[in-house]
Amino acid sequence: MMRSMRWLVARLPTVSLFVILLIAWQLAVSVGGIREYLLPSPASVFAALTNGEIPWSRHIWVTAVEIIGAFVIAAVAGVFLGTMIAWSRIISQALMPFLVFVNTLPKVAVAPLFLIWMGYGILPNMLIGAMIGFFPVVINTAVGLTQIDRDLLDLGRVFSAPKWKVFVKIRIPNAYPFILSALKITATSAVVGAIVGEFVASQRGLGYVIIATQSSMDTAVAFAALFWISLVGLVTFGIVAMLTRILTPWAENGENP
């Protein structure tokens, strides 16, 4: 009881601002006379959210699968490449220029190619999301694995520990907070990738819903889709934040890079 009270009091500024903005928005539309196709009122957005004619759950499911797939591919590929780079100087020299090149490509511009190669569907959209999100993971993994006190590595040498053991016992745990903070960025870029893919070509998903409203001028539905997109993104981000707290409780209090 006391705790929930304190929670409410702590959130009071946020909640009040939210309510004020909502009221101002509603008034601007219903009293100020802004036309609904430019800015739908909160009431009509809410109506669109609960509109039974739009199969929201199916669209949300498709987009969510794309986002999670993009996130997982980016995480696995990023950690793998980052580990390779940290493991061997030669691999690092061979790989880095390519990775930097891929990263400088505007991924949005590559999206149409993916669709030519793979056709419509969930997979190309996943890959676009993964491509946008994997680079920070590569870099942070490599940095986390190599940014270690020289004295600590000397300790490994004194006990003639094999390279893999130093990796497992020292380097990899050291990299956890680095990797997790990159994954927070990836969680956001996976959303961007999935939506961009759906913009380019698709018949399902929340990005498709937004594109479709362009011709029908049904702006309220576009707003509702935006609401769902940010909710899915928020959940993904929340999962990573939770993982961070579970996996690296020792790195709390701003110790995260």
């Binding site: 006190d149 004295d151 000397d154 300790l155 003639s160």
Partner: protein, 258 residues
């Protein structure tokens, strides 16, 4: 049996910097007997830390010969405990698991060393902190844990690189006494210690001999035997003789008569 644990014969070290070769150490000759406590003092950049790493086999000397226990050092030597200026504990591990790290790195079964680890933690007053993480400990306590880690495998040789340099003066005084106690001042099986420090009084208080170094290139300016009685207590530190020895070393280091 050879009683000279460390034999340095005209050791030199030149490294390549961006501006050309730099002579870090020159003509270092020093023999250290078993159970001896040697302190290295000198200005920053006199290569005393480098010398420590050369003895450990972590950096190669470019000239002269380095022997530990009669064998030429060509790679990192086993059976050595190292304590650095920072505690460098793994922050995701508990204190106990940090102390057990050397056993794991050396490929030994850490479970067999738990007893020993607890004994060391008890000896340094950390037994209540065995399951805490490093960030829950003060700097002095972290450095104690780092000392326990160095002692886990009971190495006959301890190399300490300004181990108490980052601590405040009072903690440092405590740690000095504690190290002497752990070292076993009066025991016959005490370890050989090579101890790098910036503090002349600390060197005088702890060591059997103080090696005074000068910088650029790092050379031995003087080797000063410390004839203070053991066990060294706070009273010993306050004697006129201790002050005299410190003053001598200070004059040698700065080239000033005071």
């Amino acid at each position: 049996m050879n009683d000279e644990v460390i034999q340095l014969d005209r050791v030199g070290m030149i490294y390549q910097a961006a501006s050309g070769p730099v002579e870090a150490l020159s003509d270092i000759s020093l023999n250290v007997r078993r159970g001896e406590f040697i302190a290295l003092v000198g200005p920053s950049g006199c290569g005393k830390s480098t010398l420590l790493r050369i003895v450990a086999g972590l950096r190669p000397a470019t000239r002269g010969s380095v022997k530990v226990n009669g064998a030429e050092v060509t790679k990192p030597i086993a059976a050595v405990g190292m304590v650095f200026q920072a505690a460098v504990l793994l922050r995701w591990r508990t204190i106990l698991d940090n102390v057990l790290l050397p056993a794991e790195l050396a490929g030994l079964d850490p479970r067999k060393y738990r007893e020993r680890a607890f004994e060391l933690l008890r000896l340094t007053g950390l037994e209540d902190f065995a399951n805490k993480r490093p960030n829950e400990l003060s700097g002095g306590m972290q450095q104690r844990a780092s000392l326990c880690r160095a002692l886990l495998l009971d190495p006959p040789l301890l190399l300490m690189d300004e181990p108490f340099g980052a601590l405040d003066a009072m903690t440092r005084d405590d740690m000095n006494l504690e190290l002497l106690r752990v070292w076993g001042e009066s025991s016959a099986q005490r370890k050989t210690i090579l101890f790098v420090t910036h503090s002349i009084p600390e060197a005088v208080f702890m060591a059997d001999r103080v090696v005074v170094m000068s910088a650029r290139p790092g050379r031995i300016a003087e080797i000063k035997p410390i004839d203070l009685p053991r066990p060294r207590t706070v009273q010993v530190r306050a004697t006129a003789r201790a002050g005299e020895l410190s003053l001598d070393i200070f004059e040698k280091l700065t080239g000033r008569r005071s």
